[in-house]
Structure formats: structure tokens, C-alpha cells
Subunit: 218 residues, 2 copies
């Protein structure tokens, strides 16, 4: 375990490396034993460090959980942000950037089900308030707002945020339906799921951008 | 506890009443201790009956869980079905019936968070396959398909189902965002949430029904 920590890019000094190791190990503990299995003691044990050591960095188990959730939010926002550019780093045209955002969102949710659940499907621990996790969540949300604003430059802020909320919840719902296997038990076969997803994306698109689309798409 | 069972409308005979009591008690056990706390033993203990008694009706804990989930699906479908008629039992006009369906869905999710989670946010137990829970899920889904078809009578089945999937996942996403308090941490105040929900419903509506609306609405 300590080898793992030593090779971490965050391990610039001993104390920081313990903190980072706790965050990474916490994610493993949750993956293995569920949220109920997470405790500072369990993380210390798994890392082979003293039971007291994690307390230097996290006043409580919930502070650790909040920090884990924050890392998920930062990583998620980074994935969304990157989706707006091509491999050379050039910004994509607005419409394409919007589509890539949706695809990236769904792929992220499916490839990182645990992170996704911590961010959006489990109530945050109370410590999230203290650690201002909202700021990190808003950073991700604002990427969506910004992409929409490029397609509807004359729209006022409140409407943009309401549009963003609609797009977010619609895609959130699709991701949830895929992850829970709901489509299978509703008798959608693989081809129909693919088709239905495309249909949903088109509907979201036309609902929010309808008339603007042809004007803004260049 | 046995008093509770005796007064149940299902308690037509002793054996059936034990089965019904197990189903109801299981819901309480899950509400109190989470899904991990559910076992046939825990339910028997809570009912004050022998540990063997539940096995007469449920080969395993997962069969009990599947049966609980089925009851939720039946109750949910019933709520959706009822939303299509006014207090006198007369069918509402198609457009109004559609809106009522959406409102009923969200209200059901918020008022029955545990049932909602069992149906749509937790993987079903394997016994669900054996007990054909899909049939009950499809019964609920088909209510939505049928309401859409009343508004778009000339649309073919595959498209209707894809429309229904879109509406369902979009509303599922909204319900999830409300339940996880995501809107609060994205700094939406109560007024904005209300407004954003209305906006989302309008967007869903226009995405799916757009042009048809004015023709079908009478």
C-alpha cells in the first residue's frame, strides 16, 4: 500500500500523501463494502497506518466521504470540459460541442457508476456543506450552461439555467435507466435501446434548441 | 403485529395473511434498516412468528424482495392509471391526461421514495426474473405509451415506445434531481425550482408533441 502512495503524483510530501492515500483507499472501500462499510478506521486498516492517522486530515468519516465526492465532481467536470475540444485542443463548433457533452456525460456515468452514484444518486454527507461541494457541482453545471449559451447567445440567464437543468435531468434519467437495466425489463432489445437513445437525444436537442439550431449551426 | 394482519383486507385465510404480513413488514424493515437489513429471519422476528413460517411463501429473501417490488409496481401503475380520469371517473382529454400523468409520476416518486427506489433505482433481485416482474413494469410503461398514442394516433409502435422512453427517463431524471437535493446545491431557490420544473415539462411536451398538440387538443 505504501508503495502505491509513494508512486502517487500527489505524494510531494509525507502528510499530503497520507491524505491522498486515504481518499483513494476510501473509494476502494466503498466499491467493495458499500457506503456503510466506509469508516476512517477501515481506511486506516486497509492502508496499514495507525487508526489516528486519517484524523489529522479528516475530522470525521463524513469529511472523508465529502472529499471523495469532491474529487469525483472535479474529475467529472474535467471530462465534460475536455469534450468541448477536438484532439488538437481546438474548440468544437457549438452544436457539436453540445452533442459531445451529452455523450460524454452518459459515457462517464456508465464507466464510473460508483463516482456517479456518489455525486448524483446518494444524499451528500452533511460535511459537504462545510467543504462547499456545491461550488464543485456548480462548476460542472456551468459548463453545460456555457455550452447552451453559445447556441442561444441572446437568452437570459434564468432561462439558460432552466434549459441546463432540463438537459441535465433528462440525460441523468437516461443514464439511470441504462444503469438500472430498466430498458431490458421493458423489453427493449439492444437495437431498440440504441435507437431510443438517439431519439431521446434528438428530442432534447429540438426541445431546447429547436429554431435556433439552424441559425447557430455554422 | 398479528392484530395488524388480522385487520388486513387480504387476510381471507390464515396462510395468505402470513404472506401479506411478510410483504408489508418487509417494506418496514427496508425503510428502517436499508436493503441490507432485509432477511426472512428479520421479517419473521418482527412479526413474532417462527423463523420457518416465511419460507412457506418465499423460497428466499430475494423472492420476498421481488414480491415487495411487484406490489410497488402495481400500486404505481394504479396511481398512473387513475390520473387519466377526473373525480367522477370520466376520461380526461388526451393532453390533460398526459400532463396529469407527468405530475402524478413526480408526486408518486416524491411521496414514496422507498418504493420508487426499489422499482427504479436499485438493481432488481434475480428472483424478479422468475417472478416475471417485467410484466408489471411493462403494465406501468404501457399506460404512458397508450396516453401518448391518444395524442399521436398515427404514430407507429416503435416510435411511440421511444417517445415513452424519453418522457419516462426525462421525468425520472427530474424526480431524481429533486430527491437528491441537487437543485439546492446548484443554487436554485424554491421559486426557480418551480419555474424550472414547469419549463422542463413544457420542453418535454413540445419535444414529443410539438405540432400534433394543436390538432389533437380539443
Amino acid at each position: 500500500m505504501s508503495k502505491n502512495v509513494a508512486t502517487s503524483p500527489h505524494a510531494s510530501n509525507g502528510e499530503n500523501s497520507v491524505k491522498e492515500a486515504c481518499v483513494r483507499k476510501a473509494m476502494e472501500v466503498i466499491a467493495e463494502k458499500g457506503l456503510e462499510g466506509l469508516s476512517l478506521r477501515a481506511v486506516a486498516r486497509a492502508l496499514g497506518i495507525s487508526h489516528q492517522a486519517p484524523y489529522k486530515h479528516f475530522p470525521s468519516r463524513d469529511h472523508l466521504l465529502a472529499e471523495v465526492t469532491r474529487r469525483c465532481l472535479i474529475d467529472f467536470a474535467q471530462a465534460l470540459r475536455t469534450s468541448g475540444a477536438n484532439d488538437e485542443g481546438d474548440a468544437l463548433p457549438p452544436q457539436q460541442a453540445m452533442r459531445k457533452l451529452g455523450e460524454t456525460y452518459i459515457r462517464y456515468a456508465l464507466e464510473n457508476p460508483l463516482a456517479y452514484r456518489l455525486m448524483f444518486s446518494t444524499p451528500w454527507p452533511e460535511a459537504a456543506l462545510e467543504l462547499d461541494l456545491s461550488r464543485d457541482a456548480r462548476a460542472a453545471f456551468d459548463i453545460l450552461v456555457e455550452r447552451i449559451s453559445r447556441l442561444k447567445p441572446d437568452t437570459e440567464g434564468t432561462t439558460l439555467r432552466a434549459d441546463a437543468l432540463f438537459i441535465w435531468t433528462a440525460i441523468h434519467g437516461i443514464a439511470g435507466a441504462i444503469e438500472s437495466n430498466a430498458m431490458q425489463y421493458l423489453d427493449f432489445d439492444a437495437g431498440e435501446i440504441e435507437q431510443a437513445l438517439g431519439h431521446a437525444m434528438t428530442l432534447i436537442d429540438s426541445a431546447v434548441f429547436g429554431a435556433q439550431q439552424s441559425e447557430t449551426e455554422r
